[in-house]
């Protein structure tokens, strides 16, 4: 079992995140999920731009901090360049779902053999709190000062519909389930997507009268509910209409992965 010192670049602590940032909690869950199974010399962390993407620099493995939104495309090249590598993409709702949206859906469709950990804090945190495709309807941000008139993406549903082998959503208020989801995803082949609903007290909380981390944490938890087996959840579309977030596995398949189909072609 790897110690914290073996998994993280502890010489970079204290981490640069704001007080109460959910990224730290996600890092704890990532560590717990991987510490018994990961080969740190084969692990490659790939992050785009944003606070959540910076998790790539805290893990003591090869890492590449790419251009905004393109982590999944870089990861595709890394994995195809050397299929032995254990490629994990980490990033936020904006990086992965807005500017990176095209790469997200195509990698899911291809069932590319990478794991994507999306930390969804409903906002563009790093740049000061602008709206993201994940900002809840009526949410206040610096670019929606009167309240967000748009409705947000349900990325996990979108990715599930695009044929990913695994798509699950949990939150930082559900660390045990989040750990299990990452563990399960890590063992599978193909495109695996784990979304962690998180908090940005600085970027989202402050603008929405939820400035205290504990306040925003409580608010987030109150908006989540756990998916019932075979239950329907929310709207039937990948858009959030009711402000509530279903948590659980949205897809758990064993469709032929990209590498598996490449191998078949070789034969």
């Amino acid at each position: 079992m790897l110690s914290m010192q073996e998994f993280f670049r502890m010489d970079r602590w204290p981490n640069s995140y704001c007080p109460g940032c959910g990224n730290g909690t996600v890092m704890n869950c990532l560590y717990r999920a991987l510490r018994d199974v990961v080969d740190m010399d084969k692990l490659v962390m790939v992050g785009g731009i944003g606070c959540s993407a910076r998790i790539d620099g805290y893990v003591f493995a090869d890492a590449i901090h790419t251009t905004h939104g393109r982590a999944i495309a870089f990861a595709t090249g890394i994995k195809l360049g050397n299929p032995e590598l254990d490629v994990i993409v980490v990033g936020g709702d904006g990086d992965i779902g807005a500017i990176g949206g095209n790469h997200l859906i195509n990698a899911a469709r291809r069932n590319m053999d990478i794991l994507v950990l999306c930390v969804n804090n409903w906002i563009y945190g790093m740049t000061g709190g602008q709206v993201s495709p994940a900002t809840p309807h009526t949410g206040i941000s610096t670019t929606t000062p009167e309240g967000n008139q748009e409705y947000s993406f349900e990325f996990v549903k979108l990715v599930a519909e695009c044929g990913a082998n695994y798509a699950a959503r949990w939150s930082i208020a559900h660390p045990f389930q989040l750990i299990d989801a990452i563990k399960t995803a890590h063992q599978k082949k193909g495109f695996r997507y784990v979304e962690a609903l998180s908090i940005c007290p600085t970027g989202y909380g402050r603008n929405n009268k939820l400035a205290e981390p504990a306040q925003l944490f409580e608010y987030l938890k109150s908006k989540t509910y756990i998916l019932k087996q075979n239950g329907t959840h929310g709207s039937g579309i990948a858009v959030n209409l009711d402000g509530k977030f279903a948590l659980g596995e949205f897809a758990n398949r064993d469709r032929e992965s990209y590498l598996e189909s490449l191998k078949k072609q070789e034969v």
Partner: protein, 77 residues
Amino acid sequence: MKPHINEDYCKGCHLCIFVCPMKVYEKGSRISKKGAILPEVSKPEKCPNYKKKVDEKLTCEMCVLTCPDQAINFLEG
């Protein structure tokens, strides 16, 4: 064992106070060198890990898992 807070890492977010199911923590009055209002371990005996020895598996780890700064550790005490 008692939870120990690393004062170099703690940023005073107080999520530990909020998530602890046994109300072991409380907002303290001490301020760290970094300017964080440190939480205080005010009721360690309420923690399910209180009677455990060092290196024994923890019964509850909500604070450790939640702490965004990896500032909580269970130590002898």
